[in-house]
Symmetry: C2
Subunit: 164 residues, 2 copies
Amino acid sequence: MDQKHQVMSTSAILSKAELLNHWQGHRRLTRRVIEAFPEDKLFTFSVGGMRPFADLAKEMLSIAVPGLRGIVNHTEDAYSERMPDITTKEALLSRWDEATPQIDALFEQIPEEDFHVTFNLFGQYNFPIFENILYFIDNEIHHRAQGYVYLRVLGIQPPFFWER
Amino acid sequence: MDQKHQVMSTSAILSKAELLNHWQGHRRLTRRVIEAFPEDKLFTFSVGGMRPFADLAKEMLSIAVPGLRGIVNHTEDAYSERMPDITTKEALLSRWDEATPQIDALFEQIPEEDFHVTFNLFGQYNFPIFENILYFIDNEIHHRAQGYVYLRVLGIQPPFFWER
């Protein structure tokens, strides 16, 4: 097998654009989960002593754009989650929608050859960039699923998982 | 940009081996979640009218090896979830461990150039193979997170999410 063939064969799995699209599809679903919560329950209701869904969504927001910004600018600012201004569903959805094109723009700036470069995300998580980004997505799926349970306990039908 | 450079740049995101390793890492975590359940609660306990965690783990087992087998053999057998023999935690963990090398072996047989080929998984889900496989992983993260909530409600500390 010559070198070119090796390179072509490893390109077949997943492109950068597909990974971004995969993530944004999950973010569209998470947005629908936020929308499904009654306003008050979004900020107060939880199960098993876990955080209310608004706090989980704020965590996702605190990871996505700040994490990508760190990756793009090679800065290792610590993770921080300060969004005291977000106290309504409308404000949360509006922040969510602001992040969407920011994620697109920042992700676009990561050179493809950097995805295997190790980066110390938030000065704390020292992994290849592709692993950091998969972690962002995994973490969102994981916490969003908590929201599904909260909705079920509230008697509310959550959005279909496969709808993106 | 010449063609070779384009090809090289799209190869940078994620290799086939890395995707498999990512999935198996999630499977190791799911195994720890199964282990964390008390035997009886694994098969009976749930929250919000959802399925007990054993049923969710059986769903994962019904997708992983049968789904990969369909992809490898180009067969479109319908999804089926019949595991009446699994009634103990030990049997579930043993089936989980049986699936691990089967997943490795089947995944290995998918040619890299097939990941963008559209395949009608279980005769029902007509998507590129990379999307089908990402869906297997997403679905596992999603349902495993339900298990995290069940454990919290039971007063049991779940395994760390980042431990794979």
